[in-house]
């Protein structure tokens, strides 16, 4: 669970940075989203395997892959959200002397926030699932149960361990999700609520 949390935090930081750097130019934004989408289609097991061959079987092989997967929804929703502000709102604000940084921080980001948050939420659910797969590389988290189950296929405990894995992964995903509902409720400005 901690690993998932760190992964999402890292992905939010990197993803928003990428979004902020690229949203202004349509070409760069489209390119970034396309690249992230391609990265997303790479099979996670293969990526884990690749990194293990470089850094060995430890957390260093797991974490970057997790962050890479977590990035896509955040980058995409970040860019879409930042572009979504009504051009007239931006024009009026600029015309009254709102400068570049303030425009981003006080106008574009708050307007984009519900969309960005939705991206983070999807990203979190993905991460919880993929962390379980990461257990094949490094025994962390609940994936261990799934790994053990597959490793001892046919033994008495196979089914139990698999069920434990599935149940708890689902449970964690749900807990994170509930947290998001709360976060959204408290961080979305009243005027921006649908």
């Amino acid at each position: 669970m901690l690993l998932s949390l760190y992964t999402v935090l890292a992905a939010v930081a990197i993803g928003l940075l990428i979004a902020i750097l690229t949203y202004r130019s349509r070409v760069r934004a489209d390119f970034t989203i396309a690249t992230a989408a391609v990265a997303f289609t790479l099979p996670s097991v293969a990526l884990f395997g690749f990194l293990v061959s470089i850094v060995g079987s430890n957390l260093l092989a797991v974490f970057p892959v997790l962050v890479l997967y977590a990035l896509l929804p955040i980058v995409r929703n970040g860019i879409v959200g930042l572009q979504s502000a009504d051009p007239n709102v931006i024009d009026a604000a600029r015309g009254m002397g709102v400068g570049g940084f303030r425009m981003l921080w006080q106008i574009r980001l708050p307007i984009a926030w519900p969309v960005i948050l939705a991206g983070i939420r999807v990203s979190t659910q993905l991460t919880v699932g993929i962390v379980a797969i990461g257990a094949f590389v490094q025994k962390v988290g609940l994936g261990t149960y799934g790994y053990d189950a597959l490793d001892n296929l046919g033994s008495v405990n196979t089914q139990n361990k698999a069920i434990v894995c599935i149940l708890f992964v689902t449970l964690i995903a749900l807990v994170f999700d509930a947290v998001f509902v709360v976060i959204r409720r408290f961080t979305t400005p009243r005027g921006a609520r649908a």
């Binding site: 009504d86 007239n88 709102v89 931006i90 024009d91 009026a92 604000a93 600029r94 015309g95 009254m96 002397g97 709102v98 400068g99 303030r102 106008i107 708050p110 307007i111 400005p189 009243r190 005027g191 921006a192």
Partner: protein, 347 residues
């Protein structure tokens, strides 16, 4: 016929009491040889326009769609950088000023309003005062003052969000927001274009009476000539490339259109429209011994008086001041006035 000047020296200027940065009342704006060519376009959208906008007046830019009104206006607060030419505000060349600081001293209202959706009405109105770092108490009282000024009860509207307001109410907030930091200049791009005719007419009336107290220098863009006639102290009729076809007072443009283009813009009924600019008490009143069936106030326009006569099938109506009859006007008096205007010595 007056000639068709590209630069018009103002005859009467509003009160001018200081430099742009400290003065809430209007300061003059001077455009000279102002040109804008958008990248990749052969013809300039604004082609060497020179014009002087006197302090404290409403100057309306009117012209067909795409003639460059918006482009001209947006160069004043440097939302668009000119290709060549200069703009001075109160004598200062705007390109020598910091653009963000400059815009905080210029009110800006657009047709689409552009209120910030996640901020309350109070926060929207407080936008520029906050940027100028006013203290909290001053901002709060200013917000209430401005909402009251534009006819919205602060207690009712302060904490609402833009989407909880009608279009007309939002545009009032737009005007309040532009006026909040008391800028000497206002730029308004078809501000009343998106509301129904009745609301528009009311907003125009309120805007005029507000301007009487405030005396800002206002550049007002519209493509509605009747709006231009109603609001403008001066009207610049523009043709393609923002070229000035005529720049004069509404009365002069109606009485002496510079060319066919201006005439076509005035449209039908120029003579009748002129009647809007003269009051009944500008006529020599006839003896009031004759009884008539209808009465107009001395402050009514000739247009209203004639409308009454035509509507009621009368040849004369009584003129009253404070409800007491002081004389009478006849249809013929109005016809004479239209054909021999007051400033004409033969009248």
């Amino acid at each position: 016929m007056p000639e068709n000047p590209t630069t018009v020296e103002p005859t009467e200027t509003g009160k001018q009491t200081g430099p742009a940065a400290h003065d809430a009342r209007g300061v003059p704006i001077v455009l000279s040889e102002l040109t804008k060519t958008y990248p990749g376009q052969a013809k300039p959208a604004v082609d060497a326009v020179s014009m002087e906008i006197p302090a404290g007046e409403i100057v309306v830019l009117v012209g067909p769609s795409g003639c460059g009104k918006t482009t001209t206006m947006r160069m004043v607060n440097r939302l668009i950088e000119p290709t060549s030419g200069t703009i001075t505000i109160g004598g200062d060349d705007v390109t020598h000023l910091d653009d963000v600081q400059l815009r905080r001293r210029i009110g800006y209202v657009i047709q689409q309003i552009g209120l910030i959706p996640h901020l309350s009405i109070a926060q929207n109105v407080a936008l520029v005062p906050k940027l100028l770092k006013w203290d909290k108490a001053r901002i709060r009282s200013r917000v209430d003052e401005m909402l009251t000024t534009v006819g919205l009860d602060p207690d009712d509207y302060r904490d609402r969000y833009p989407r909880q307001l009608s279009g007309g109410q939002q545009q009032r907030v737009g005007v309040a927001r532009a006026l909040a930091a008391d800028p000497p200049i206002m730029l308004m791009d078809e501000p009343f274009g998106a509301v129904d005719p009745i609301t528009r007419s009311r907003l125009q009336d309120e805007f005029l009476s507000l301007q009487q107290q405030l005396g800002k220098t206002i550049v007002f863009v519209t493509h509605d000539f009747d709006e231009a006639l109603k609001l403008g102290d001066r009207i610049a009729v523009l043709r393609e490339g923002s070229k000035i076809a005529q720049y004069d007072t509404p009365e002069q443009i109606l009485a002496h259109p510079a060319d066919e283009f201006v005439e076509s813009f005035i449209g039908e009924g120029a003579a009748l429209k002129r009647l809007n600019f003269e009051r009944v008490d500008s006529l020599p009143l006839q003896d009031d011994s004759v009884q008539t069936r209808e009465t107009v106030d001395v402050s009514s326009t000739l247009h209203a008086a004639l409308d009454l006569m035509v509507g009621k099938g009368l040849r004369q109506v009584t003129v009253a001041r404070d409800g007491r009859p002081v004389g009478m006007v006849r249809v013929d008096d109005i016809l004479d006035r239209v054909n021999r205007p007051a400033e004409d010595p033969t009248a």
